[in-house]
Symmetry: C2
Amino acid sequence: MNSKIIIAIDAMGGENAPFKNIEGVSFFLKKNKKNDVFFNLYGNEVLLKEELSKYKISSDKYKIFSTTTIVSDEETPLTAIKNSKESSMWKSINSQITSNSNITLSAGNTGVLFVISRMLLKTIETVSKPALAGLWPNKKNMNVVLDLGANVECDEKNLVDFSEMGAALYKALFPDDIPKVALLNIGSEEIKGTETLKKAYAKLKEISAYGDFEFNGFIEGNKITNGESNVIVTDGFTGNIALKTAEGTVKFITDSLKKSLTSTLLSKFSIIFSYFALKKFKEKLDPRKFNGAIFLGLKGPVVKSHGSTDAVGFYHSIDLCYRIIKGDLMNKIKNNLSHIDEDNKQK
Amino acid sequence: MNSKIIIAIDAMGGENAPFKNIEGVSFFLKKNKKNDVFFNLYGNEVLLKEELSKYKISSDKYKIFSTTTIVSDEETPLTAIKNSKESSMWKSINSQITSNSNITLSAGNTGVLFVISRMLLKTIETVSKPALAGLWPNKKNMNVVLDLGANVECDEKNLVDFSEMGAALYKALFPDDIPKVALLNIGSEEIKGTETLKKAYAKLKEISAYGDFEFNGFIEGNKITNGESNVIVTDGFTGNIALKTAEGTVKFITDSLKKSLTSTLLSKFSIIFSYFALKKFKEKLDPRKFNGAIFLGLKGPVVKSHGSTDAVGFYHSIDLCYRIIKGDLMNKIKNNLSHIDEDNKQK
């Protein structure tokens, strides 16, 4: 087994590809001193070579796999499988099978990435539906939130799978911390919400005995960021609405704040004094730090970066890939899922 | 017909009742110079008289209806109807039938308020399900958002009713502005989301021809506050999660900001200079200004104030009641709903 972590990168995916993708790789290599990473880069060879030399990236850090097409933003999941076999996205995913890549990172078309990943890598046998998980800051550290939109409708089995997989992801990323699962609901009492949520609640209470996670029951939307739970589980419709509502709220507030702080000469003056404090505040909430959603439930890990991110954002999703493999995510998922199976057999 | 707006107040409902309730009444009377409001107050006569005299409220502004019990927070919707017939909440709702009240305001137990209101006032014949609507700030002014939690599951007919009723509420509160309805979804394209949402989309597109509102189609959570739409329609589960997630996000950010701005001596110093700017910022987002959710779809209007609000918050929900009656909400709802009927008949 190769002792290096090998990350396959769809170097042509995203609005600023391949430029920001390669710059992100260079950021990562500058920060990572362990010399335990290798990149399989998929894209236009000439373009990539040019960018790689710009950042003086040593050729023992990567291998270029030349590809001829790019998945466009207009491509639909329905036609993608026929159209994109020669694309950088397809090849970077398939490299987990045909080559030695441990994980794939793309900033390209999300729907297409999901469909191709699912087809090439296959869903884990016992998983009912794969999910899209993301990171979300909380008061103490970070939440894993899933599903963020892969599955519009979910049953209790899906939610239980998401909980075990989300807990595995949390443990892989934060090995010193305990995953604390909560189901997003409109009240914290056991009797609240849909039948699906009540059934998932009962099952999670039972299955938490295996010790993969603590189960905190139901939480409401206003408790997502309080840090008492760190694996927030919900269906893809609700998760997507919650995530985007939070994003919109952050923008609304920071815009209002900016407007207020520049409304008078005196308040403008004050910014000089609070410059470093505000900078720290901005840094803490910098969305680029949370860039990268993870497809969970496939036989190989795939990370989706925001399409419009810059090199810093792309660097953070490379770092996420690195930590996922370092934290042995796939074995943790396997272990956690086996407990669902075990629990079902005992009945 | 009485030319005054008569507001029935459950003076014993809420954590700070009857003190903050009566103080809220006094705030309102100080601000309202039109002399066109009268209060029917329900509660403990001795207590109420004491509070009313404290604020020197003129006795031609109110009538006290003495009640003997209070609906507790522990009361459930199931047992409330049997237990609460003598309560201030019950009597204040019933006064729309037995007395001359135009609208009811309570800060008491939400579930019980909803059940009693529904039983006493009855649902409008053509409305499939009543909804809970709230106000939510946006970049330009204010959104009406519904349903906020009355109905966990909704079909397309519910969503269409909510749209017409929400548009009527918006028009009653902001007579100079045009209601712009949008359905909350996980994408803005017509093909996104559940079957229910797609059917509601088609019907709303059709029915918007009557001119009750402009229809902006689907919007995602991050667009709720951008001001392009102002009547945001969704099922009660999603609406509740979105509202509370936004609340939690506001708290998370303002807490982080506060922490940053007081982290160093220099930044603490800066607060002196930005004091007024930050005060303006805080005022703009003051949740007390949005205090008051409206039950829509009953034959009489009922407003729910936050249980823990103070006198300023209670004042704002009194003001909401006033504007609802001033804006002729009930007739506007009737008019809008008749268009659904008309449209159905044409098929």
